[in-house]
Symmetry: C2
Subunit: 266 residues, 2 copies
């Protein structure tokens, strides 16, 4: 299984100023590639906290760790310092990364969005990479993405600005993740009418026995503010080597539950 | 400082089916009480993973840990098992909690939203508390909140359904958190026109020297897809014992930055 950890860096999120939507967006891009997100951690703009969270994710044996945020030019963008500290690597300007930063600021200058294309210390900082890391091109902003391979894990750092994160994910990163992925994933979501979720539990137990590889999750709606009545959303998913096989298992469980529900819940 | 960790439990979030908005909502309710969220962790519906995350938060010395999700009647609601495992406590039916569950299901039955008010095993499970935990009333759903004091920390477990989480937070929990809180918090958000964020860094450094207790965060907008020009949002906040004092510090920094920006950035 391709297990993933997502580390979100940014005081603006932990102080409630910004709602993190990058994580859900990435999860839904990772699912079709059969990556399963095991955990996410959000920390403040603090080198030590970033490094600690990365070390915890490495301890958890994840194959892919994606960090978001903290790659910008300002003093409080500390993600690469945290990655370097986590793996005891020195930071040094990566020439390839610097070329990307220079190209982007020339483009911003031509477009009239910055006064000068000069590579100030603040801008050069975006190319100061942990030793051994490779840049991921960014045509949507100033800061390149960062890719580092350590102890069998791939650690990818992306900017927090959604348009930049999405550009890097969909362009240089997507083919890399596709190559690194193993196996397949499929899911089906069904809606059942039931009087209440607690009466569904025994039926789900039966379905679990039918196909132990298949994961069944019931998504409760509040019984108080739910006006659509008592529709319970069941979401049925499976990971495996053969797409046809896992699709058959998921369909078998879904059909089984629909029949059971009709006979028992209504 | 009142440092907080939020532990979000639920496969539906890590599989991208549901966007977690509870965390941001709670952060914005905790801020005026001077609670600062140090980290959030999201894990799957897995007792061991829940317990591990709780132990990590305890290691981090947080004063308040709030878990969300996994309190419902179904087999995959495992949060209280995880809390019990984290603190090596047995689970036993809490009579006060059971009375809440019974009252709620009688109400649901009267309202015609469940067929029977009978306390099935699945429903009784919602009152199976870690030893020493106290219930928090829930008039918006079936599962009471859970409050446990261990090693100087307060561990609160809330349902994941937003209407239930909000009801418990705003009713039984809010006065408890108000009593437990120390000190004050204030913030101001200002917008500066700047050619680009990297030119702002030296000005922020100066402002930091002016008032070291004041935290200044610049929220970058993408330079490519930002149509509103180059407005940079600066968010200036401070924690302290005296509200008047921290308000004065924040205002001093804000006015200082507005003047500096007018003279240097435009």
């Amino acid at each position: 299984m391709n297990t993933v950890g997502i580390l979100v860096v940014g005081n603006e999120i932990l102080d409630g100023v910004t709602l993190d939507t990058n994580t859900q967006w990435m999860i839904n891009k990772l699912k079709p590639l059969n990556y399963i997100v095991a955990e996410t951690i959000t920390v403040r703009d603090d080198t030590t906290e970033i490094a600690k969270a990365l070390n915890r994710m490495m301890d958890d044996g994840l194959g892919l760790i994606i960090t978001t945020g903290g790659l910008g030019p300002t003093y409080d963008d500390m993600t690469l310092k945290g990655v370097a500290e986590a793996f005891s690597l020195p930071l040094a300007v990566n020439p390839e990364a610097l070329a990307i930063v220079e190209r982007q600021y020339r483009a911003f200058h031509r477009a009239g969005v910055v006064d000068s294309a000069e590579i100030t210390e603040a801008r050069r900082k975006m190319a100061a990479f942990p030793e051994g890391a490779e840049p991921l091109d960014n045509k949507a902003g100033g800061a390149p993405g960062v890719m580092l391979r350590r102890e069998g894990a791939l650690i990818v750092s992306l900017p927090g600005v959604p348009s930049e994160l999405k550009w890097i994910f969909q362009n240089p990163l997507h083919p890399i993740l596709t190559d690194a992925s193993e196996g397949h994933y499929t899911e089906r979501i069904i809606n059942l009418s039931a009087r209440d979720e607690s009466m569904l539990a025994p039926l789900i137990d039966e379905a679990n026995k039918l196909e132990p590889d298949v994961y069944i999750k019931s998504m409760v709606k509040s019984m108080v503010d739910n006006e659509k009545g008592h529709v319970i959303r069941l979401w049925i998913s499976c990971h495996g080597d053969e797409m046809k096989e896992i699709q058959a298992k998921v369909n078998r469980v879904a059909d089984f539950l629909v029949d059971l529900a009709e006979n028992n819940l209504t």
